[in-house]
Subunit: 323 residues, 2 copies
């Protein structure tokens, strides 16, 4: 039983590696770019980057890759057997088996895979904003919406390991087309791309006149313009961010009805806009939640572990699943 | 540890009582009407009916109410402490504590409460169509949509015990007004009242011409007319039932995304229309489910325990929770 584990969080652009103690203390940290060529087969280039990160930790800290527990968090549908069934934002790695690839390259024997949202949930549960909360949902607001569900103190992995894909719950049947091929998915309304979509829609409808003038055309207004302007108090931008907050609350209220979630932890890239979104989302919950006044107050807390949540959770997976 | 338990399933019109062995065998069964006056305080009249059912079992089978485990399934928000927080279809019992009331009237000491959809899930898990399936969702299609979630082999009760209110997940934001005060709840589209609402809407729009002529006016066409006519192959009725099946699938697909449910058990009053709904709902799932082709086939099975699911599950609750 190793006292340390490696957590790898593989995103669409960066791979973050951490070396972590059983108490969740980060001893070392590395960042690399995620490669996007598929030379050598599905995932080979990505696996090479991860292997180098692990090898660097091993060398610096005198560890043996063969006995080092390694957890990998991946954006996509990760099967219980560790194979990546589908990764819409990392097409070159779909189908890859990283446990096999890392074994071949550096002799790693204890490699475990999990969805990145599930990792974030496990990280926050062990060492962050979900500590001691046996029923909570992690919501990662990034390009899309990911997440992970803790119920009865356990991660809800589901039949195949695909549990927690909360961003693909439809909140508007026959609504906006999603990258997954479905319509009306939550992430089309309350994520980074949701914000971008609403921004373009509003700008084209003439509902963002000042930003449109400033950027020299409706098609030039970006989601970042809206969050920045909303932070500075520009009314048209504040109004749009309120709409995003409403959609955020709409999805949270669904999860409350289904799971009786009393606690949410909000992370991911868009959570930089947390100050703009969370206070309003909390207020909208009162209107949108089934039996709201019969429940204890619902906590909507920002992530504690922020950018490290996924990598720390991946390390937790490695600690928990090693034999 | 008693070898038998009582399961009580309290509906809006009937209270069903069963005396059950640890193997799920029903030894005796009683049906009573649910009273709707609130004379004597919240739940007193209902508690009296339940006490009589238990007393009848005790007398017939030589049992002692004080040592007999009794489970009660209730439609509504049942708190973990056994108090009924809210029962929209049983207003006269909201706030009642049945463990206290049954203790006062017949000396019962082992009384446990649970939501009726959760009871049905536990019943099917123990002795029915969910046996051996550690991740499944029970869906009860009745007046509304109830349900219960089994994840990692355990019931998802959530923070307060209100888990599994899947009918109040919004599938159409700002859609049809629901009895709960919310908008666009799943049960407004795919339950008995959902069918009734769609029937009226379609009849008023002239989309049910034959049934409207037959019943002498759009306002006279009922949901039952549609299910009967659809069973006989009338095209306009078949088309409407397909729409209901689509909405049923829409909600199921959301639960698959969130929980990675590979198995559904469909029960409740409207499941008499299962032959009309389930085959089409299964087909629509292929279009509506996130990453459908990456998953094993999703099973949508009818309830095994049918009308007894809730009462049997209530007995299971009593067996499991007795000290």
């Amino acid at each position: 039983m190793s006292d340390v584990a490696v957590g790898l969080d593989v995103g669409g652009t960066k791979a973050l590696a951490v070396l972590v103690t059983r108490q969740g203390e980060i001893l070392d940290e590395l960042r690399s770019s995620t490669p996007h060529d598929s030379h050598g087969g599905a995932g080979a280039a990505t696996a090479k980057v991860l292997a180098e990160q692990v090898a660097t930790f091993a060398q610096r800290h005198g560890l043996d890759a063969a006995t080092l527990p390694i957890g990998i968090g991946m954006p996509g549908m990760v099967r219980r057997d560790g194979r990546l069934a589908f990764a819409p934002n990392l097409q070159t790695v779909s189908g890859a088996s990283f446990p096999e690839l890392l074994n071949e390259s550096i002799g790693a024997q204890l490699v475990y895979m999990e969805n990145d949202g599930n990792c974030a949930a496990l990280g926050e549960y062990a060492w962050g904003a979900g500590r001691g909360i046996d029923n909570f949902v992690m919501v990662t607001l990034g390009t899309g919406i990911g997440g992970g569900i803790i119920a009865n103190g356990e991660l809800v992995r589901g039949q195949s390991g695909f549990g927690g894909e909360i961003g693909h719950m439809a909140v508007q049947a026959r609504g906006a087309l999603c990258g997954c091929g479905g319509y009306g998915c939550w992430e089309r309304y309350a994520s980074g791309t949701g914000l971008a979509r609403l921004t373009l829609e509003w700008a084209n409808e003439g509902r963002l006149p000042e930003l449109t003038a400033l950027r020299g055309g409706a098609q030039n207004v970006r989601g970042e313009d809206v969050t920045r302007a909303a932070g500075e108090g520009l009314e048209e931008a504040v109004t749009l961010m309120n709409d995003v907050a409403w959609w955020l609350a709409r999805g949270l209220a669904n999860l409350i009805a289904i799971l009786d979630t009393g606690h949410f932890v909000i992370g991911g890239g868009l959570s930089v806009a947390a100050d703009l979104l969370l206070p309003n989302a909390r207020e909208y919950l009162a209107d949108l939640t089934f039996g709201y006044d019969k429940r204890p107050p619902v906590v909507v807390a920002p992530s504690d572990l922020t950018v490290h949540a996924g990598a720390l959770g991946a390390a937790k997976v490695a600690f928990d699943r090693q034999p």
